[in-house]
Symmetry: none
């Protein structure tokens, strides 16, 4: 059951925030952090996606803070749902996971910001204000990464950057995700190991990936999402 932690009498002129997190302790810490700001107030809490949808309807918050890993639906799904039902409601994603894994997904789903629980509390408040002001908040590192990804895409947005791979490159990418290593791919495709290495390098460039393990993770993830879209 969504709880009201503040009566409307307290909200005079304050911006209202709804907290969605399945850890009571985190909710408590966040609530205290927000309520001690003079112009912010927590108008409700929820611990899963269902409660969250309900709480948004009831308390009409100015923004929502959503944890990525919830119990029932994932936070990403919740963000998508909220986006459909309340397109103008800004969402800040709060997560303990590395932004590299979920950051882009969260933003793609419609979130207006992503911040990790490891961050200092002041940064969390900053993120909240930025999102309330209609801006986007991400860490500097993540912003740089997304920019370079866009630049690499030559401005044209063709959906997933995977589509920019050539046929051979895509083939190598898929086999990577299916678990083949370089030598196995070379044999299977009757090519030199060196050629496969070149393809890997091109894929890394086009997808703006750092090193081999990031490439492999990306490939595995892509293969998995391709199987069940």
């Amino acid at each position: 059951m969504p709880q009201k932690t503040q009566t409307s009498a307290n909200r005079r002129g304050k911006r209202t925030v709804l907290i969605v997190d399945d850890h009571p302790i985190v909710r408590q810490g966040l609530a205290q952090l927000i309520n001690q700001e003079h112009d912010l107030v927590v108008c409700g809490q929820a611990e899963d996606a269902h409660e969250a949808i309900q709480a948004v309807r009831e308390s009409q918050p100015d923004m929502v803070i959503v944890d990525i890993s919830l119990k029932d639906t994932s936070g990403v799904e919740l963000i998508k749902d909220l986006q459909v039902q309340h397109p103008n409601l800004p969402v800040l994603t709060l997560s303990m996971h590395d932004e590299a894994v979920y950051g882009e997904r969260a933003l793609r789903a419609g979130a207006r910001g992503y911040i990790m629980k490891q961050e200092a509390t002041e940064k969390v408040v900053t993120a909240i204000r930025r999102v309330l002001a209609g801006e986007i908040y991400v860490s500097d590192g993540m912003a740089a990464k997304m920019v370079s990804k866009l630049v690499g895409g030559t401005g044209k947005k063709t959906g997933s950057p995977v589509e920019r791979l050539s046929d051979r490159e895509l083939e190598v990418f898929r086999m990577l995700g299916e678990g083949y290593n370089t030598r196995e791919m070379a044999e299977k495709l009757h090519l030199s190991v060196k050629t496969i290495e070149t393809y890997r390098a091109h894929i890394k460039d086009k997808l703006a990936l750092q090193d081999a393990s990031e490439l492999l993770r990306s490939a595995i993830q892509w293969v998995n999402t391709e199987l069940q879209p």
Copy 2:
């Protein structure tokens, strides 16, 4: 740097608690929860193992609350260290991970309790009191599981072969799945690259994996299933 959140003037007759967690928000929530109890007070906070050791020495707490997943060393290693240096200092493990994976390891390392962040705040307070009273606190489900394990003995192979990994090995396995490479893990754990390589070899043996890429895939998959069970 460990912070003192209460002066000793406030501690009159109160039991003191040290909080070790790398998430500022969680520390804040936990501290508030504890400080609003009439007979408990937070005497310090730390965000990694090194700070924790130092803070224990300085603030001499009556008990410590340790998060399992810290930045440098894992919480399990910290618990072992604390156990050696302060055998009578009770430790409560607080974790977002399922108790099935880390609960037994934490207790084996010397913790006197294990509670998940998903639990209601009242349960957290209960756990703190139980541990302070010299008792052991685990969830009912975990208690039942451990009893049946004792009674059932070696009857059946319980769960995945991942449970056969040692603490260090599991740590490396998890970090592998989270995308760290060998060098990064060595730095993060303050170990030699060679040691990490040995752990990888042991993991490969225990899980009967062929080569490095199979190991990496397996680790990625395990981490993903841990996140969304």
